[in-house]
């Protein structure tokens, strides 16, 4: 179990630019499904990258169970946006997922060896708690192990990415717009899967454009537009919607 606390984060991409995030504070508690909603350019992906430790905040700090993120980076895993992946790359689903076991390391020699072993035999690094077949079964793609990535549907690609993320030892999963461009049945299936993961004790922080009834699938909702506009349970957030100046978010309601 791990609780992540981000306190008062401010971040700019360059010295002279306006902050992409301004005094953002969030808490991700074990076993919860939290939605991070906001319009395009609200800073959702930026926040996820800070929470994973890819970028460092200008001001503020991030802790996991009271310890700095830098010392606990393996506790957090980021599932990137589907568009950031090269789906035409010649590799099987099984090998893609196995790459999720690679741990962050600044060591020049550790990672290539690990990747080499994984590509030669995807099961070479799996341990008892993160078994490859079990993970694929968990997200419902066990029948796709030997398929090429470009033969998968959008929903199957998202599931393969989720399985890759689950192969890490992380207890806190950051999912960057996993429902983008999914049709409603595929989105419902995906949300059921992540609910099961939350019920199993994982903490999931999911960025989304969704607004409306879809938010009822989550335990907590954080509304972001450079700064946190509101946070709380779905019902309490939807009650505040009219008071919030986030019209662009309502217009982006294409997932619902």
């Amino acid at each position: 179990m791990a609780t992540l606390i981000a306190d008062n984060l401010t971040y700019s991409y360059s010295k002279n630019s306006k902050p992409a995030l301004n005094k953002v504070s969030v808490e991700i508690t074990p076993g919860t499904l939290t939605a991070l909603v906001g319009p395009n350019g609200a800073g959702k992906s930026t926040l996820l990258k800070l929470l994973q430790g890819i970028n460092n905040p200008d001001i503020g700090n991030i802790t996991i169970d009271g310890q700095s993120l830098a010392r606990n980076r393996s506790q957090v895993a980021l599932m990137p946006q589907r568009s950031s992946m090269n789906w035409k790359f010649p590799i099987t689903v099984e090998k893609l997922i196995s790459l999720g076991q690679i741990k962050y390391s600044k060591s020049k020699s550790a990672n290539p060896f690990q990747i080499k072993a994984l590509l030669a035999n995807p099961k070479s690094w799996v341990n008892k708690c993160c078994e490859l077949e079990a993970t694929m079964q968990r997200v419902g793609i066990s029948n796709l192990a030997n398929r090429r990535l470009d033969s998968l549907s959008g929903g199957q690609q998202q599931r393969a990415l989720l399985a890759k993320t689950l192969m890490s030892p992380a207890r806190i999963l950051l999912l960057d717009e996993p429902c983008a461009a999914l049709d409603p049945p595929a989105k419902d299936d995906f949300l059921k899967t992540v609910r099961q993961l939350a019920d199993a004790g994982l903490s999931l922080f999911i960025s989304s454009h969704d607004w409306g009834s879809t938010l009822n699938n989550y335990d907590q909702v954080v509304v972001l537009d450079k700064t946190v506009l509101a946070s709380g349970t779905p019902s309490s957030i939807q009650g505040k919607l009219d008071d919030l100046n986030i019209s662009s978010l309502k217009e982006n309601n294409y997932c619902d």
Binding site: P80, M85, F89, P90, L96, Y104, N146
Partner: protein, 262 residues
């Protein structure tokens, strides 16, 4: 020893090496979505060749350096989101080719421009062969020691970077090897027509391949067949090998499509 002294032996060996090497390199570049960079590098080698000749350095060294420099400058001119990537690449390649053409009379040197651009395989010598073998060995080294990084960066550059892989360094190594491969192919197909040998066999080899390694092996096989066919046709019909290989590349894409319709 008449076999050893045969005029066609060195061109044939170069054909075999280039036919295997170019498609394998092309497979890596296409899967990394860097084919436009190949086009850029191939157009950027000419100024280096001209300068190297004027300075009395081996032209291949100048070609590789200027190809690599052109690639680095173009990368640095694109914005972070790569929105202007294609425009910058195309401007750069046209400019560098023009610069090379201008340098030739300005420096008062003699270059067989047609041979550089379109190849002159049948007059290739031992020096050309050596250049091809060096490029071949460099590529083998890259794949032997960097295959896993090449796969991870091609598949998920952000994820690879997040797990500690130096993506910029790998891209630089790829650019260097690409420049070497292009310069080494000068005698076989020329620096312009090399694009066909880098891309066409790859399109055939990538189809349904389950891994990058399998795709590279298949592409090399197709590339070898195309190159050998071009070589034989050139000798039999007294054609220029570079253009002949390029035309066969196009035909190998079109003929299967026509065949499928009947």
């Amino acid at each position: 020893m008449s076999f050893i002294n045969s005029w066609w032996l060195i061109p044939l060996i170069i054909t075999i090496f280039s036919g295997i090497l170019c498609p394998a390199m092309g497979t890596v570049l296409i899967t990394h979505r860097r084919l436009l960079q190949v086009n850029l590098i191939s157009h950027c080698v000419l100024p280096g060749l001209a300068l190297a000749l004027a300075l009395g350095i081996h032209p291949s060294i100048g070609g590789v350096i200027s190809g690599l420099l052109g690639s680095i400058i173009a990368e640095s001119l694109t914005n972070k989101k790569s929105e202007n990537y294609e425009a910058v690449m195309n401007t750069m390649l046209a400019g560098m080719l023009g610069f090379g053409v201008l340098l030739i009379p300005l420096l008062g040197i003699r270059i067989d421009l047609e041979a550089v651009l379109f190849g002159d395989l049948l007059t290739a010598n031992l020096s050309d062969l050596l250049r091809t073998i060096i490029a071949f060995l460099t590529f083998i080294l890259l794949i032997t020691f960097g295959y896993e990084k090449v796969v991870y960066v091609g598949l998920d550059p952000e994820g690879a970077s997040a797990s500690g892989i130096n993506v910029s360094l790998l891209n630089l190594a790829l650019s260097f090897t690409t420049a070497l491969v292009i310069v080494s192919s000068m005698s076989a197909v020329g620096v312009i027509l090399v694009i066909a040998l880098l891309s066409t066999p790859t399109l055939l080899g990538l189809d349904k391949a389950q891994s990058l390694r399998i795709a590279m092996m298949r592409s090399s096989f197709f590339g070898l067949c195309i190159s050998l066919l071009g070589f034989i046709l050139s000798i039999v019909f007294n054609l220029s090998p570079g253009p002949a290989i390029s035309v066969i590349c196009v035909a190998s894409l079109i003929i299967p499509k026509i065949g499928n319709k009947f």
